[in-house]
């Protein structure tokens, strides 16, 4: 149950000045605890902030920082069985939401405050029609009759840019794409003209181009309808595009808050500095090595006293062991760090560590290690019971080379076939046609004995460190399994020693070999996955979205590890990812795919500096950059529309349906991948 104790401010958090004039929501000294099997987890401790009418406030933090929990506490949607709010007030239009009875709170939800969630795939009820789900709050809160509600629903769907609204009203969520579902969620959120919308990672599950569309829509609507917006996100680029004010959370506490420009350009907390440093960015020259925040986020069940960030802070001093207070900064914000004066004076300079400079390109282009030619994969799908066959054209005529010790980035939106290419190279799928030459052998035609030999040399690191490790095997068994399977080391002693060595190599203590995956953090699990891949001393590793599921600071650590290993062992990577900035950081050359086809191939610096293909240009344009000045200044050219179905790809150039430069010629023939400049290939007739 949610119980509220009288708020006798025990923490050193000053109550925000109730400005009275425009303040819509004010969260004061909020605490949230969870009862768990390992004891009380203090998920949120003494968080205070305010939101003015029509203002866009971003709450940034990594997983476990308490950002979503704070939002759910405002909505009173925390799980009732385990969550307790021992202290705090949530003042909304003069009323303390935490003190309201359930019925009064229900009247506020969806009427005055609405919430948009992260996963558009699971946040809509699969068995109820879209129309019903949009009209529901209208009928409940505004007492509209069926017809009026339907009319308003159509109006809302048009407002959020869903074409053909009347017809789609009767459809169900599974008939909508992810981007369209998120539009539906926004329509539901807007239904009753709320004063505040809380959006919890609203674009995280979406592709870059769709993300840009949704971001623009939300920003535009909040300005036009004067709705205050709280955006919760881990993506600093999203924050930069949206926010008037930024709140940075760490370990359940507020680390820093201030105006967006100030926080991004003059951060006043070491964590904010670290966060800004560890994101690979498209708008800056690529550094040699990513700066990272070492260590792991705190365990909130047994948090030590003092500054939460101290164990990972490069500027920690003895004073950090006592609880730091929120201190006003020169930029008009607040920072919970004892060394704020030094940061302000410049004695601690956050940009000092930035290493600029060109990356060393591995120019040992003798013969390609792996060479893919005209690779094609069609998945047959049965249409109807009698199996009229159709084909999902997942990969169509893809060719590229990877040289020893090189990293080739493979980017594209979901459904572009990048993962399938990886699976084909690993022979987890059989190609429909084409060749994959690896060290002189064609993997497509290889016998199973040949494959066995190749699989020692070709390894994989998967995306999800949570589900790709067998939960019933210890870390040692997982890492040692390939040694066993390929009968390289059968004696238990030597195997154990090798596992220890491998764990060391990926930065894990050898004692972890006895642990099970669930006892490790996400970053540690991904390190285990890398150690397993390294066990066979492969010459080539497919990294399928290997860092996408990780928090920013951990992501930086893993990217650096992959780069170190490459330098040490000379292993080549195929780095499959959707994050353009990450791909730019790690890759030497980049392949851009769209709807199963290669659009452009070039050196990393060339493709990011002078992209040729219109798709690459739009893709780069759509990616938000963590700099509010740049983000607010530019008017992005949005890619209109959605990805066509790979069951029936458009005739001619597959991109012509969304391309701003498309003409009739583009519909006529499939453009070949041409070498336009030396080493720079593109599949477009307009270049």
């Amino acid at each position: 149950m949610l119980d509220t104790a009288a708020s006798s401010s025990s923490g050193p958090s000053p109550a925000p000045a109730p400005s009275g004039d425009g303040t819509l929501l004010s969260v004061e000294n909020l605490h949230v605890h969870f009862r768990t099997s390992v004891g009380i987890v203090r998920a949120v401790e003494g968080v205070s902030f305010t939101v003015k009418r029509g203002e866009v406030v971003a709450i940034v933090g990594e997983s476990g920082s308490g950002k979503s929990v704070s939002a759910l506490a405002v909505m009173r949607l925390l799980p009732r069985r385990s969550a307790i709010v021992p202290q705090g007030r949530v003042m909304f239009e003069g009323r303390d939401l935490l003190g309201l009875d359930d019925e009064a709170m229900r009247e506020i939800r969806g009427r005055h405050i609405s919430m948009i969630f992260q996963e558009p795939m699971t946040s809509l009820n699969p068995v109820l029609s879209i129309g019903l789900q949009i009209t529901e709050p209208l009928q409940i809160h505004l007492g509209m009759d069926e017809a009026a509600a339907q009319a308003r629903a159509v109006e809302l769907m048009k407002l959020v840019g869903i074409p053909d609204a009347e017809r789609r009203l009767g459809q169900y969520p599974h008939q909508f794409s992810g981007g369209m579902r998120q539009r539906v969620m926004i329509a539901i959120g807007l239904a009753c003209n709320p004063k505040l919308i809380i959006a919890d990672e609203p674009t995280t599950a979406l592709d870059v181009t769709i993300q840009a569309q949704i971001l623009e829509l939300m920003k535009d609507l909040s300005r036009r309808l004067n709705i205050a917006l709280i955006v919760i996100t881990h993506n600093l680029g999203v924050v930069a595009r949206y926010a008037d004010r930024v709140i940075v959370m760490y370990g359940g506490r507020l680390a820093e808050q201030g105006a967006a420009e100030a926080v991004f350009h003059r951060p006043r907390h070491p964590y904010t500095m670290g966060l800004l440093r560890s994101v690979p960015r498209l708008d800056r020259p690529r550094g040699l090595k990513l700066e990272t925040i070492e260590g792991l986020p705190p365990n909130l069940a047994h948090a030590p006293p003092g500054c939460r960030f101290a164990p990972r802070c490069p500027y920690r001093i003895a004073a950090c062991e006592s609880e730091p207070a929120l201190m006003p900064t020169d930029t008009g914000g607040l920072s919970r760090c004892v060394r704020v004066p030094e940061i302000i004076s410049g004695a601690i300079n956050w940009t000092s560590g930035m290493v600029a400079g060109a990356g060393a390109a591995a120019d040992k282009r003798v013969t390609p290690l792996l060479s893919v030619r005209r690779l094609t994969k069609h998945f047959p799908v049965k249409v109807g019971l009698r199996g009229k066959k159709a084909f999902v054209r997942a990969v169509e005529d893809v060719s590229f080379d990877i040289y020893p010790g090189e990293t080739l980035g493979l980017v594209g939106e979901s459904g572009c076939g990048k993962t399938t290419v990886g699976r084909l190279i690993l022979r987890l799928e059989d190609a429909t046609s084409g060749q994959i030459q690896f060290e002189g052998r064609d993997l497509v035609a290889a016998s199973s004995a040949d494959l066995q030999a190749v699989r020692r040399k070709v390894q994989v690191i998967f995306q999800d460190p949570y589900s790709s490790l067998n939960p019933r095997m210890t870390v040692g068994q997982i890492v040692g399994e390939p040694l066993h399977v390929h009968r390289i080391m059968t004696e238990a002693e030597r195997q154990k020693a090798r596992v220890g060595e491998l764990l060391n190599q990926v930065g894990l203590r050898p004692e972890l070999a006895e642990r099970y995956p669930h006892q490790l953090s996400g970053g540690q699990r991904q390190r285990v996955g890398i150690a397993r891949a390294l066990a066979m001393e492969p010459s080539f590793i497919v990294c399928d979205e290997a860092v996408s599921a990780l928090d920013v600071s951990i992501q930086g650590q893993i990217i650096n590890l992959l780069e170190d290993l490459q330098r040490e062992l000379g292993v080549a990577y195929l780095f499959i990812a959707h994050d353009l900035a990450v791909v730019r950081h790690i890759s030497m050359r980049v392949v851009v795919m769209y709807l199963g086809r290669v659009m452009e191939i070039a050196d990393r610096d060339t493709i990011y500096r002078e992209p040729l293909h219109p798709y690459t240009k739009l893709l780069l344009d759509a990616a938000p950059v963590p700099d509010p000045t740049i983000e607010k200044a530019r008017a992005p050219r949005l890619i209109q529309g959605e990805l066509p179905s790979p069951l029936a790809p458009p005739a001619g150039c597959v991109f012509h349906t969304r391309c701003p430069m498309a003409s009739d010629e583009c519909k006529a023939a499939i453009p070949a991948v041409r070498e336009i400049k030396p080493g720079h290939f593109a599949a477009c007739i307009k270049v």
Partner: protein, 317 residues
């Protein structure tokens, strides 16, 4: 969807042929036949000639393949043949019992649904409270108490408290609804209680799972009344898997109530099954096996169709 149903029914034909082959030959592996049971069953001295004559009359002297051929031909023309014991057509023998069995099955299913859905829902919503524990005890008891014992207890209770016992002869519903219902409600309750236990536990666990879904949080965030969150948003999703359990249990009830029918002295399909097996009445056993197999197929198809009705993600073409 209609086309899909027709296709599914056509696909049932090979299944039924398979059932026919297995049931025919398995019965022939069992030593003895109906003639021996009929004429020598009570130790009477009957000459071999009489037995041979009787066998010839029933066609049991023909080669096995010929007998099988005859039966399959009959099946093809929807003729299940005659009972080897009573000489009455198999269809007729089944029909007079099916009415009763079907009615008990339907009533038991209704009892089960009316118990299971509210019990499962309440238990899920009040998880961890005493209400939940009481429901769990009720359902565990339902799973572990044999229904014949429960039947006996019901009979005993009726006798002790009301000094009344249900009548022994079956009155069809259309003849006298009151007499019919007062007779059949007791076995329906005894069976339905057990059958509700499985379903209630299923509803409980499904609802607990669904209540954690993101779309339930969305519904609450919209300010939907809690009652509507449960009925409209949660139960519609949670009850889908329960439909499968209900359907399969229903099909089982048609032929599976052997003991309960004995306790309540009902002349249903279960009892007929036992009788015909003990008499080695091949044609009747085969006929009943075919009927129950057909029943399962139809129930399964119905479940799949109901799924399509309740879950818009499923569409058959």
């Amino acid at each position: 969807m209609l086309r899909y149903a027709v296709q599914r029914l056509l696909l049932a034909i090979p299944t039924l042929i398979g059932v026919a082959i297995v049931s025919f030959f398995l019965l022939r592996v069992v030593p003895g036949d109906v003639v021996e049971v009929k004429l020598r069953g009570d130790g009477g001295a009957v000459t071999q000639e009489t037995i041979d004559m009787e066998r010839k009359r029933m066609g049991l002297d023909k080669p096995l393949m010929a007998q099988f051929g005859d039966w399959m031909l009959g099946l093809a023309t929807l003729n299940l043949g005659k009972s080897m014991w009573t000489d009455r057509p198999v269809v007729e023998e089944i029909a007079i019992r099916l009415e009763l069995s079907l009615q008990v099955a339907i009533m038991a299913s209704l009892v089960a649904v009316m118990l299971a859905v509210p019990l499962g829902t309440i238990a899920a919503l009040m998880r961890g409270t005493w209400v939940d524990y009481v429901v769990r005890i009720i359902t565990i008891a339902g799973l572990s108490i044999p229904s014949f014992w429960l039947g006996l207890m019901i009979m005993l209770m009726l006798l002790v408290l009301f000094n009344w016992l249900p009548p022994i002869t079956f009155t069809p519903l259309y003849v006298d609804p009151k007499a019919n219902l007062t007779q059949l409600i007791w076995p329906a309750m005894a069976v339905g209680y057990r059958y509700s236990a499985v379903t209630a536990r299923m509803v409980r666990s499904q609802l607990l799972e669904v209540m954690n879904e993101d779309y339930i949080r969305t519904a609450r965030a919209k300010g939907v009344y809690e009652k509507l969150v449960i009925t409209r948003h949660a139960l519609r999703n949670a009850l889908l898997p329960a439909i499968t359990v209900l359907g399969l249990e229903f099909a089982f009830l048609i032929g599976g109530l052997v003991v309960t029918e004995q306790v309540f002295n009902l002349n249903g399909i279960g009892k007929l099954f036992v009788q015909s097996v003990s008499r080695n009445d091949f044609t009747l056993i085969q006929g009943m096996v075919m009927m129950i197999a057909g029943f399962y197929i139809i129930v399964n198809l119905t479940i799949d169709m109901l799924y399509a009705v309740f879950d818009p993600r499923i569409r058959y073409r």
